[in-house]
């Protein structure tokens, strides 16, 4: 019923703003249709409720690379539920349907209880092909097996039926082409799992030739899952696909069912480009499942558990022979795979019945033959070598490989590496780094280390040192214990560290040098906990042998043994006056240190107590345990004062704040909690750890809390706000105890990785942020000595920064409102040059910040500017399309070079000072002779404006970046384009590392490239603009980049010069300034306040004053 204000076509209500009174929806739809009549029955976008042919869509049940799958109801001739798959847009409907029709009759022959029938196909009214299939209510085979924790046998039996079904189809001449877990659904019928393969016959119909275009989205995201694809399918344009492609895919599924992981790391396949993806699929041998499993670390445990077994047992079992089955199915050379799915099934049956397998390790003869054949000039040598290298790389860390096999592999690798090696070595390096980067983000430091260590020394560059640096920023690692280190304590004078270990010993270390001073033997079991007396004379230790021992801290002599606990002693502590010891096991005991007498036992906890501590005044005791409660006791009487209830989580660690007003606790629920010690109220919950929090304590000034966790990390928290300040990574095992040094400057931690680590407590995050500019940073440069950084911004200012601390040093004003597009230091570091929107170039004294001179001559905005290597000349270029050469001493204009037909964006001198390179909006790069001013050559190839150009340090290469998402390398002598490095975003800036071995490009992403191979080594995360100036520090250790939209970030590969404390101070200073400014609104007042404030630490005040002075000028502008 179409009412006046409703669309007569679709019935929608018409608003007063309907164009010409017509229904907007119907009008929009007209735009889609050809000249055919407008039909209104079918909505444009199918969804639940829509009817397609005989089917009514009920709900969306799946979404894949190919399209959407709906649960639908067939109306006639019979009513039943079916699965209806609508192929996504972009495929040629006619072709898909034609291909399907061609197979239709054959598909009708498929009649197998483990294959879902394809019932129908057609075209929706919007022109998309759809398929109708038997509806299978189930989950993917991998998910099913994991969820039901099926053992290896049960998995194999289930998989057998899959093989048989595939074989049935193969016998009818039907290849699946897309076998993967998502296409093998398991449903439960009569309490038994029934696998069903779906999509048979569909993959072929919708298969498109594999190309970069079909495999990736426009944003470069990989579509679908290439992990199960056979090498021959990955070969572009290979039409010759037979049943053996399915055997390969079955092999991968079996691999995953057994090892719990895919042969190739998903994140690597996701990251690499198309060509690399193809190469991996076609050339890299998959690691053996047993090796793959054991390389997974913690995850392997869960995988084994989901198979009802342990890691070692599973790995051994796979290694013994089972793993040869998936490996044989997955051979790159398809003639070496199982000949049929039934042969694969037979071999699984062989395994289950204990008969000899068809599959087995390749014989030495075969390997050598293959090696020789491939090595004899075949291009495919890459395959073996890469495989050998990659395998070797993984193998070297794992124990399950036979020495003999290793030796053969190693020899082969070595031989090939010698002869054709360089490229392959680089390749494996690039891989190693990519994987290590991924492992860092996963927090798997152990694996990261292994990967880093396997990288050849001579190939290691910035990216390697960067990973190495952020993987472990500990100042010292104390090694000596032969087993896990649990308890740990620092002497009151901060000079020594005592540690207790599973190896039953206590070790005393020099806290300054890390030297092992002595080893105390005596306990009969694990040492769980150690403590220093406040007078530093005694060490107490608690142990699994149920005793507490007291030791002379100076000599290491055992003074006495305290017996009385009936179970493991988990925690010991001295009273502040050093006269008493408390210990915790099933109950808490208080002992007299001089006599060794048990003074009292505190009972009240219902289960084991894990942690006990005195209040700073010694009057109270706090304890926490497995019964999920924290109790506070009167230490004189032993009476319970208070119980703090922690919902549902056993307590692992408790401690008082230095002022005794608060209690901190850590527990099994992975959180840290702060409590009011007087009222027992919960004050804060600090969440962030991913595993049990085993140890917590306050900093000596009470301002921070640290926590050590079974997630292998230590976190530093603000005790006031609860903010997470820092995460310390580096331990390769669970962290058991964390302590602050008495001066608060160090953090010490003990771990199951058998080590103790000492950290700078002022340690900061992985990336340093310099903020102070108000608008986009257009250019940055390091001073020649690397100590300072200069930046020019669109806010019209030039700022100088301390590169070690990140503190703002001064602001150079003079360009007014005109944005500063380029800045550079003179080679002697004494002057700074800047170019600006105000059409001038200015030279500044780099020490005083005084403006020395202004160069006028350009008719328009000056974009690029640079000093000659001898510091005598300056070159500039910009919107007026000309280059100008200036005398840097007098400011006189020497020469004007015309030739570019549009804006010049970037200029640079060659290292010998004889040439200039320039690039800009006319898409060309020009090289000029400095002496004569003649144009030497023009490099063409960029399809968009050239944003940045520079010479390599040896002057032989030129690197350029274009706004068309590419970086190009050129021969600086001949002008030949050597390499084109595609990026996934605009590149505004590009430069060489000081050693010329790396390039960094700044744009949507900041990327580090290997010059020799042209491969991307690392992408630096954490930013998001289209244009980003980049710079390498002169020592090659730090990368700086201007980040959208007004900050600068530094990525370091070593501990900063001057340590973390200076940086901590600088950050604190900036915070103080920002807060005071917010309060007062004027920097002059900030300065006054800073001068008057005597609560601030002097170093912080000093830096704060410097920052406030640098920003002082803003007052004047504000006053205007």
């Amino acid at each position: 019923m179409a009412k006046e204000n409703h669309c007569p076509q679709c019935g929608a209500e018409l608003m007063p703003n309907a164009p010409e009174g017509l229904c907007p929806r119907c009008l929009m739809k007209v735009g889609l249709e050809g000249d055919a009549d407008v039909t209104l029955e079918s909505p444009l976008i199918e969804g639940p409720g829509t009817t397609i042919g005989r089917y009514k869509l009920l709900e969306l049940i799946g979404e894949g690379g190919m399209g959407l799958v709906y649960l639908a109801e067939q109306q006639e001739p019979i009513r039943r539920k079916v699965a209806l798959k609508i192929v996504k847009l972009g495929m040629d409907t006619k072709q898909v349907i034609a291909r399907f029709e061609a197979e239709r009759q054959v598909l009708a022959l498929l009649d197998h209880s483990n294959i879902a029938r394809v019932l129908d196909a057609g075209t929706t009214e919007t022109g998309r092909p759809y398929f109708v299939m038997e509806y299978v209510k189930g989950m993917s085979i991998t998910k099913y097996c994991d969820r039901h924790k099926l053992s290896v046998e049960k998995r194999l039996k289930l998989f057998l039926r899959v093989c048989e079904a595939v074989h049935h189809a193969h016998q009818k001449g039907i290849i699946h082409r897309d076998i993967k877990p998502a296409n093998i659904l398991v449903s439960v019928q009569d309490d038994r799992p029934v696998p069903k393969i779906i999509d048979f016959g569909i993959a072929k119909a919708v298969t498109q030739p594999l190309t970069e275009r079909t495999l990736y989205t426009r944003q470069g995201q990989l579509l679908g899952t290439p992990e199960y694809m056979s090498p021959e399918q990955a070969d572009m344009g290979n039409e010759d696909i037979d049943t053996r492609a399915d055997i390969y895919s079955l092999g991968v599924v079996l691999y995953e069912l057994l090892a719990g992981a895919l042969p190739f790391e998903h994140e690597v396949l996701q990251k690499v480009g198309f060509a690399e993806l193809q190469r991996i699929l076609q050339e890299e041998e998959p690691p053996h499942p047993s090796i793959r499993l054991t390389s997974l670390g913690e995850e392997a445990k869960e995988i084994a558990e989901r198979r009802h077994t342990q890691v070692l047992a599973l790995a051994r079992r796979l290694h013994r022979e089972l793993e040869w089955i998936p490996l044989k199915a997955m051979r790159k050379d398809r003639s070496r795979r199982y000949r049929s799915a039934s042969e694969l099934a037979d071999d699984i049956q062989n395994y289950l019945s204990g008969a000899p397998l068809i599959a087995g390790p390749e014989t030495a003869v075969y390997r050598v033959k293959k090696f020789v054949r491939k090595h004899a000039g075949s291009v495919a040598t890459v395959a073996l070598v890469a495989a050998v290298i990659v395998l070797g790389l993984i193998v070297s860390t794992v124990m399950y490989i036979r020495a003999e096999r290793m030796r053969v592999l190693a020899e082969q690798a070595e031989k090939v590496a010698e002869e054709r090696g360089e490229e392959y070595r680089r390749l494996s390096y690039v891989h190693g780094v990519a994987l290590a980067d991924a492992k860092y983000h996963e927090g798997n430091i152990r694996r990261l280390r292994e990967l880093l260590e396997s990288c050849p020394n001579d190939l290691r560059g910035w990216e390697w040192y960067r990973l190495n640096h952020i993987a472990d920023k500990a100042l010292m690692t104390l090694r000596g214990h032969t087993d896990r280190v649990y308890g740990m304590a620092i002497s009151p004078d901060g000079k020594r560290i005592a540690s207790g270990s599973e190896d039953k010993t206590i070790k005393v270390w020099d806290a300054g040098t890390g030297t092992e001073l002595m080893t105390l033997h005596g306990h009969g079991a694990t040492v769980t906990s150690v403590a220093f007396g406040q007078d530093g004379r005694r060490i107490a230790s608690g142990s699994g042998d149920k005793t507490i021992k007291v030791w002379d801290a100076a000599t290491g002599a055992e003074v006495m043994t305290l017996r009385g606990h009936e179970s493991t002693v988990w925690s010991v502590a001295f009273s502040p006056d050093s006269k008493r010891i408390i210990s915790a096991g099933m109950d808490i005991k208080v002992w007299d240190v001089s006599t060794g007498n048990e003074l009292m036992t505190l009972r009240g906890h219902e289960r084991a107590i894990r942690s006990v501590a005195f209040s700073p005044d010694g009057k109270r005791i706090v304890s926490g345990g497995w019964d999920k409660s924290i109790k506070v006791w009167d230490s004189a009487s032993g009476t319970e004062v208070m119980t703090l209830r922690w919902h549902e989580s056993p307590i692992l660690s408790v401690a008082f704040s230095p002022d005794g007003k608060r209690i901190v606790s850590g527990g099994v629920d992975s959180t840290v909690k702060l409590w009011d010690a007087a009222t027992g109220e919960e004050v804060l919950t600090l969440a962030g750890h991913n595993h049990w929090v085993k140890s917590v304590t306050f900093s000596p000034d009470g301002k921070r809390v640290i926590s050590g966790s079974f997630d292998n990390t230590i976190k530093v928290w603000d005790a006031e706000t609860g903010a997470e300040l820092m995460t310390l990574r580096g331990h390769e095992g669970r962290v058991w105890t964390v302590e602050f040094s008495p001066d608060g400057k160090r953090i010490v931690s003990s771990s199951e990785d058998k080590t103790i680590k000492v950290w700078d407590a002022a340690i900061r995050g992985d990336v340093v942020t310099l903020s102070g500019h108000e608008e986009a940073v257009g250019s940055i440069a390091f001073s020649p000595d690397g100590k300072r950084l200069v930046s020019g911004s669109e806010d019209g200012t030039v700022k100088l920064w301390d590169a070690a601390t990140g503190a703002e040093l001064m602001t150079l004003l003079g360009h007014g409102e005109g944005g500063v597009y380029s800045v550079a230091f003179s080679p002697d570091g004494k002057r700074i040059v800047s170019s600006s929107e105000d059409k001038t170039i200015k030279i500044w004294d780099a020490v005083t910040g005084n403006e020395l001179m202004t160069l006028r001559g350009h008719k328009e905005v000056v974009i690029g500017v640079s000093f000659s290597p001898d510091g005598k000349r300056i070159v500039s270029g910009g919107v007026d399309s000309t280059l100008k050469l200036w005398d840097a001493a007098t400011g006189g204009e020497l020469m004007t070079l015309g030739g570019h037909s549009d804006w010049i964006q970037s200029v640079a001198f060659s290292p010998d000072g004889k040439r200039i390179v320039s690039g800009g909006n006319d898409k060309t790069i020009k090289v000029w002779d400095v002496a004569t001013g003649t144009e030497l050559m023009t490099l063409r190839g960029h399809e968009h404006s050239v944003g940045s150009v520079s010479f390599s340090p040896d002057g032989e290469l030129i690197v350029s970046s274009g706004w068309g998402r590419t970086v190009k390398l050129w021969d600086a002598v001949t002008g030949t384009e050597l390499m084109n490095l595609p990026t996934n975003s605009m590149v505004g800036s590009v430069t060489f590392s000081p050693d010329g071995k790396r390039i960094i490009s700044g744009g949507g992403n900041i990327m580090v490239w290997d010059v020799a191979s042209g491969r991307e080594l690392m992408t630096l995360r954490g930013h998001g603009g289209a244009f980003s100036p980049v710079a390498f520090s002169p020592d090659g250790k730090t990368i700086a980049a201007g980040i959208y939209d007004s900050i600068i970030k530094l990525w370091e590969s070593t501990t900063p010069a001057g340590g973390y404390e200076l940086r901590w101070n600088a950050e604190a200073a900036r915070k103080v300034v920002d807060e005071l400014y917010k309060e007062t609104g004027f920097y002059s007042e900030v300065i006054d306040k800073l001068n008057a404030d005597n609560t601030l630490a002097e170093p912080v005040r000093k830096v704060a004053l410097q920052i406030a002075n640098s920003r002082h000028w803003e007052d004047a502008e504000k006053a205007e």
Partner: protein, 249 residues
């Protein structure tokens, strides 16, 4: 325009896109080039209402929404524009919304743009009418994003229809247009050609042809309008589907 308006060809693929506003913006090397400024201004002038509606639904009052719309354009059209426009961002609509969100989220950007713009009028926009339009939308349900999309779709349709009408008027066929426009969305067999023919004193065949032409021309205009805001021919179809979906709310 001659009688065979409906076969007036549209420029084919590449060349057509060389001249659409959004492709000009994307191709411009520098923000100060006059082409860039002109093309971006034209787009902004056309599509400001969805932005205004977005801001209103976001909770800003009429004055704030007006100020921010102007300040946002100042921000876009200034030199900073180039750094903001990333060819990766695809359609103009997506770009505009993403940039606006960033702009709204960034207090400093906003303050700075307002300082620079100094409350000056960058484009002449009819805010009074905008508020009336905004008031039509039911004050519930739609998120700012959805409202943005819907307003966008309506703007596109308005533009196409206005153009269609203008062409009819300029060829003295306004009466015909007024009578036939209702059939733009109608099923062909539901059109009472005979009655209309009698009413207009035309033959039935002539009415059929006129309806067909009107519809073809309208389709062309709609696609041209959308073409101004996307980078490639292929995106037009996709955009129509998106806008269609946006109109469902």
């Amino acid at each position: 325009m001659s009688d065979n308006a409906h076969i007036s060809s549209t420029p084919s693929g590449a060349s057509r896109f060389a001249t659409t506003h959004w492709s000009i913006v994307l191709a411009a090397g520098s923000p100060s080039s006059s082409h860039y400024q002109e093309a971006l201004s034209t787009l902004c002038q056309t599509y400001w209402f969805p932005l205004y509606a977005y801001l209103r639904r976001h909770g800003y009052n009429t004055h704030q929404a007006e100020d921010y719309t102007q300040a946002f354009f100042a921000y876009l059209l200034e030199k900073r524009g180039l750094r903001v426009v990333d060819p990766q961002q695809g359609k103009f609509r997506s770009f505009l919304l993403a940039t606006l969100k960033h702009f709204v989220g960034d207090e400093r950007d906003r303050a700075r743009a307002q300082k620079r713009g100094g409350g000056q009028t960058i484009l002449s926009l009819d805010f009074e009418n905008a508020e009336n339009q905004y008031a039509i939308e039911p004050a519930h349900e739609l998120s700012p994003e959805k409202l943005f999309e819907k307003s966008w779709a309506l703007t596109v349709l308005d533009r196409a229809m206005a153009q269609l009408k203008a062409e009819s008027v300029s060829t003295n066929r306004q009466k015909l247009f007024d009578r036939l426009k209702v059939y733009l969305t109608a099923k062909r067999d539901s059109i009472p050609y005979r009655d209309v023919a009698a009413e207009l004193d035309m033959t039935e065949g002539a009415v059929k042809v006129a309806v067909h032409r009107l519809r073809s021309r309208y389709r062309e205009l709609l696609r041209e309008e959308i073409a101004q805001t996307v980078a490639t021919e292929g995106e037009i179809e996709e955009e129509i589907r998106n806008l269609f979906a946006a109109l469902a709310y």
